[in-house]
């Protein structure tokens, strides 16, 4: 926090200019930014607005505030387009993959960041080497693997394979964070006779809260956003579609139903937006840490 105070004091110096007073200048910048932001989020605002209109009203392109708000679209999306079921499918995939990924990457990052053992460099090398592999490259074998495991058309398959998404970046985040912690922590724990596992669980893990939050938010975003994998797995089994795929399919089937589509879209984005608003401070700090590291 001291840093923030310092930088805000610093930015005041940047702004202070003789001609226009800094206050006026900041007002002008704020007004400009406000205009830019209005345009920036206009598509999303339009989407929410359209979801409360009848299709006739949307095509008539009246103003953003619906003259007669209707909730039909939501009922139609939830019941007929199965958005309700897709919502819980997505929730399952997201929660499951977040739990698995957070635990696995924290453990792996901890030993990679703090311990020396044979093969450590090799594992690091493998991780960095695979960081750039695009999903298009791995999707076919991943699908085949899931089919072999009998999960080729199951939500468990989607959930498990979703853990691979940003895995490498998370491990590197944890490793970087843990490696910067002072050695005294572990030494003190050792003196008190605390074992390796309990040191990790009770001392180190609680200290890595910023990274844990970042990983949770990033993995949630990834799982909620993921499209290629759920699309491939659910091609033959529409019942287990996730929201992204479900809304996409809805578009294919009812292209003229803009009201239904925007309602389904709004249902899909509300949970992630709310999560982000609650956790954004941690999340942004964590992301920032990722770049500094």
């Amino acid at each position: 926090m001291a840093l923030e105070a310092a930088s805000s004091a610093a930015s005041e110096y940047v702004i202070r200019q003789p001609l226009i007073t800094p206050r006026v200048r900041r007002w002008i910048v704020s007004a400009l930014l406000a205009a830019v932001c209005c345009i920036w989020i206009y598509p999303l605002v339009w989407m929410v607005s359209a979801s409360f209109k009848t299709n006739a009203a949307i095509f008539a392109s009246e103003g953003l505030i619906p003259s007669q708000p209707v909730f039909d679209n939501y009922l139609r999306a939830w019941n007929e387009a199965n958005i309700g079921a897709y919502f819980f499918n997505t929730l399952f995939v997201t929660v499951g993959s977040v739990l698995l990924v957070t635990i696995a990457t924290a453990m792996m990052g901890y030993v990679l960041g703090r311990r020396k053992f044979l093969g450590r460099g090799f594992i690091f090398g493998l991780l960095v080497f695979t960081m750039f592999v695009p999903q298009g490259y791995t999707i076919i074998p991943v699908f085949e693997l899931l089919s072999m495991l009998g999960l080729g058309q199951s939500l468990w398959g989607v959930m498990l394979a979703t853990t691979g998404g940003s895995f490498v970046i998370f491990v590197l985040l944890f490793a970087g964070y843990f490696s910067q912690m002072p050695d005294e922590l572990e030494e003190a724990a050792k003196m008190d006779g605390v074992g390796f596992v309990r040191t990790f669980w009770y001392v180190m893990l609680p200290l890595s809260k910023p990274i844990i939050v970042t990983v949770i938010v990033m993995q949630t975003l990834y799982a909620w956003n993921d499209f290629l994998l759920p699309l491939v797995v659910t091609l033959a089994n529409p019942a287990i579609r996730t929201l992204s795929v479900g809304v996409y399919a809805f578009k294919g089937e009812n292209f003229v139903d803009w009201g239904g589509m925007t309602a389904a879209s709004t249902i899909t984005i509300v949970p992630v937006v709310v999560l982000f608003l609650f956790l954004q401070r941690y999340f942004i700090d964590g992301l920032a840490g990722a770049v500094k590291g």
Partner: protein, 318 residues
């Protein structure tokens, strides 16, 4: 950490060393299972699949050697998609970095009114699922009653609706623009983090010397955060290569393949063949391997370039 190495006798047997680190290896297990199954295995399996003529049913597997690659090199659609992937990355990454840097420099001023709100608003497209963005933007840009075209027509800027997604010459640029809009928020946060590392004393010293605000930005702040630019460019490039969801949900590679990038091409050949043709998983794998290798080579070159630049900056070494 250094102390934990020296406690291991230098010539300890391999078995002994492995046994001493048994708990470390145990901790690696869950992560390595995920990594092995969903990242490492697919990497190698793709290479095997790429040597097969295979429609997805096990019985139909036939080893064909490098025939898929030979065919690939002749395939115009493959090369077009290959080129488009790079054009897309090379145009979106710099645009994304520049726009987000401008936002970050403005929003870094904590005295600015509502800067937290602006930051959140700019970030909103990032948290919106791509498939949703695809749908909303398809409607927004529709040449029939789409709000963007109506707005432009009403303002008198154009006299005929523009078919942003239906014009083969325009579609890739439209998609690039939407992609940049969607991801600028993340890059902005990275830049904001980089700006935090500029010490406050520097601003003070500059002010005492009577340096103007824009000069501070250009000659002091920007050079200081250049090292971060490399990391940010790398992260953005990774993102730009995973463009499948946006393109599939908006144009499916069309019109006339004009927006078919590598992943869309792979998906089409492996899972969603046109006119009910037989899926060709081997052929699609070959395309994936070729593309993946090309990216890896570029990554390695980039890492060496970064190392070289860094070693020139700090002659004493790290």
């Amino acid at each position: 950490m250094a102390s934990s190495i020296s406690t291991v006798p230098h010539r300890a047997g391999l078995g002994h060393r492995l046994w001493q680190s048994r708990i470390d290896y145990l901790f690696l297990v869950p992560g390595m299972v995920i990594f092995g199954l969903f990242i490492l295995y697919p990497l190698f399996a793709s290479q095997w699949f790429s040597l097969l003529n295979w429609s997805g049913f096990d019985a139909n597997q036939a080893f064909v050697g490098f025939a898929n690659y030979a065919e690939l090199l002749q395939d115009k659609y493959f090369w077009d998609a290959f080129a488009r992937s790079f054009i897309f990355t090379l145009s979106t990454v710099p645009a994304q970095m520049a726009v987000s840097l401008v936002f970050a420099i403005i929003l870094n001023n904590k005295l600015l009114r509502m800067s937290a709100l602006f930051r959140t608003l700019i970030f909103l497209p990032v948290v919106t699922p791509v498939a949703i963005i695809g749908i909303v933007m398809t409607i927004m840009l529709s040449p029939f009653n789409g709000p963007v075209n109506i707005g432009l027509l009403d303002a008198g800027l154009i006299n005929r609706a523009i078919d942003f997604l239906g014009d083969p010459n325009l579609v890739l640029w439209t998609l690039a623009g939407i992609f940049v809009w969607k991801w600028v928020g993340v890059t902005m946060v990275y830049w904001l983090a980089a700006l935090q590392t500029v010490p406050a004393e520097l601003y003070e010293a500059a002010k005492l010397d009577g340096v103007k605000g824009w000069q501070v930005t250009f000659f002091i702040v920007l050079p200081m955060i250049t090292p971060f630019a490399i990391v940010i460019a790398l992260i953005s490039a990774i993102g730009a290569l995973n463009v499948f969801p946006l393109i599939q949900s908006m144009t499916q590679g069309g019109p006339y393949f004009a927006s078919e990038v590598m992943e869309v091409y792979i998906f089409r050949n492996a899972f969603a063949t046109l006119n009910g043709a037989v899926p060709r998983l081997g052929y699609a794998s070959a395309a994936g391997v070729f593309f993946g290798l090309a990216i890896m080579v570029l990554t390695i070159l980039q890492i060496f370039a970064v190392r070289y630049l860094r070693s020139r900056e700090k002659p004493n070494g790290a």
